[in-house]
């Protein structure tokens, strides 16, 4: 359903131009859950923003169901059925949760909104009429952000580190919600994450490093590698009993 061909992206930074994506190639199939993972700074968020149109790619093509969307704007891609949950969501002085959910979808009846907020672990009656301002914690804003994506009828839903700021008690419900979105609405889901709980949802795992897709593989393989690294670290910590080994593991 989504095809990325030879995608490149150069961004302007304080120290000049930086090539953040290089000759990226991969395909997403209908109705699958993909988890994109890899080292920090490898290009995961940049790639997902390029798919949404937040960053305009400098080379290559993005096709949605065969249609070239490379030069389409953010809102055109949104109207074509791509959704994006931001890692650090915006706050809005003067816009209430109910109003943002109404903007997000035609699910503007209170019971539907209550269901959406329940799915992200919030009690609707405490939130619908509140402004999305600085009175909310980071975790609350994050859940509302995810609810705006659940509200929409999407072909492709992108979640950029949805677990950040969400407590462990709510994560189980959130992962169930991703599965429900995928199964009930046939939405293809692309989640950027490093969490084992999220990796467990993946039909396929996209490994991104150094601005390119290094591998598309199974969750079993990735989780196996993580467990092996974890095991090695514990072993080295217990053997060395020193700060250096722990520092190595942290890297």
């Amino acid at each position: 359903m989504l095809e990325v061909k030879n995608l490149g992206l150069t961004l302007k930074g304080d120290e000049g131009e930086i090539q953040v994506l290089k000759d990226m190639n991969f395909k997403l199939e209908d109705k699958k859950i993909y988890v994109m993972t890899g080292p920090n700074g490898g290009g995961k968020s940049a790639l997902s923003k390029a798919i949404m149109g937040i960053y305009q790619s400098t080379s290559g093509q993005i096709l949605l169901n065969g249609e070239d969307i490379t030069n389409k704007t953010i809102y055109e891609r949104a109207r074509m059925g791509i959704g994006y949950a931001f890692q650090q969501p915006a706050r809005f002085k003067g816009i209430k949760v109910r109003e943002l959910l109404e903007i997000a979808s035609d699910k503007n009846k209170v019971p539907e909104m209550c269901d959406l907020l329940y799915d992200v672990g919030l009690c609707a009656q405490d939130y619908l009429e509140r402004e999305i301002n600085t009175s909310f914690s980071g975790g609350e804003v994050k859940r509302i952000e995810i609810a705006t994506i659940l509200a929409r009828d999407l072909k492709l839903a992108i979640f950029d580190e949805p677990e950040a700021g969400i407590d462990l008690w709510s994560m189980q419900r959130l992962t169930e919600t991703f599965v429900k979105m995928n199964e009930k609405y046939n939405t293809t889901i692309l989640i950027i994450s490093h969490q084992e709980r999220i990796l467990n949802l993946a039909d396929e795992v996209i490994m991104v490093a150094d601005g390119t897709v290094s591998e598309i593989t199974t969750r079993e393989k990735v989780l196996g590698e993580i467990r092996q690294i974890d095991s090695d670290c514990r072993c080295r910590q217990s053997c060395n009993k020193g700060g250096k080994a722990i520092a190595d593991c942290d890297r």
Binding site: Y75, K93, G94
Partner: protein
Amino acid sequence: MLTAIDKKLLFEIADLNEIPQGAFNLRKNGEGSGRHTTSNIDIITKKDKPGIDVIIKAGTKGESVYIPVIVSEGIEDIVYNTFEIGENSDVLIVAGCGIHNSSDKKAQHDGIHEFFVRKGAKMKYIEKHYGEGEGSGERVLNPKTIIEVEENGVVELEMAQIRGIDNTIRDTEVNLHKNAQLIVVERLLTYLDQTAESNTTVNLLGEDASAQIISRTVAQNESKQVFHFRLLGHAKCRGHIQCDSIIMDKAQVSSIPEISAFNSDAQLIHEAAIGKIESEQLTKLMSLGMTETEAEETILKGFLK
């Protein structure tokens, strides 16, 4: 007789589709154009200068007074209104001025409102200003509001300049006595080459008096806004000023808050911010399917709501 223009102005400034129930006084083009009083609320024409005295009996609860002003030609009007809000009453006062100027002459309304909110009384005061008209004449509104709030009195002010006012100077002065409370919410939009100046002074005179001032403004095109907010703590009291302005295009905004304490138990805070619409807000709304223009309008509408 209200014309279609009059009705539109009344709707814009007071949400009125028809003459309201209860007490009201309608002023049109510098003259009284309709009045109604109730057993608890009297309205008397001043004898020494243009304007009215609104007298609300002690203990009046749940009643409202509408005193809209309509200016539909190029005149300069000044009015002095005095409000006596009786002890332990609880009332809503809806003022506001709408100008429709289709001439090349200046249309100006200066409204000087003085309130005496007696012990234990509660008053909500809503004032909206709106201008329209195809004429080249300026539309000018200069409101001056002076409020004395006695012990345990509560005053809530909602003051909004919606659109279409070329120049305004707004002066507000409030004196808060023992345990009196004040909440001010100000909303203001300027565009083209409009100018707006707002000067608010709150004297926290009595013990445990409290004041909260929230100001949200948007300056577009080449318009200019200047705000002076002063909170003066003369007793054990609490005060908070929060001013946010969105600046766009070639507009200019100056926000000058002052907090001064004359008592070591005064707690006064000011926060002021001026900035563009945050790009994260625009991007979020665009990612929900809005064009950039739609997203911008939605953000501004919410901000000024």
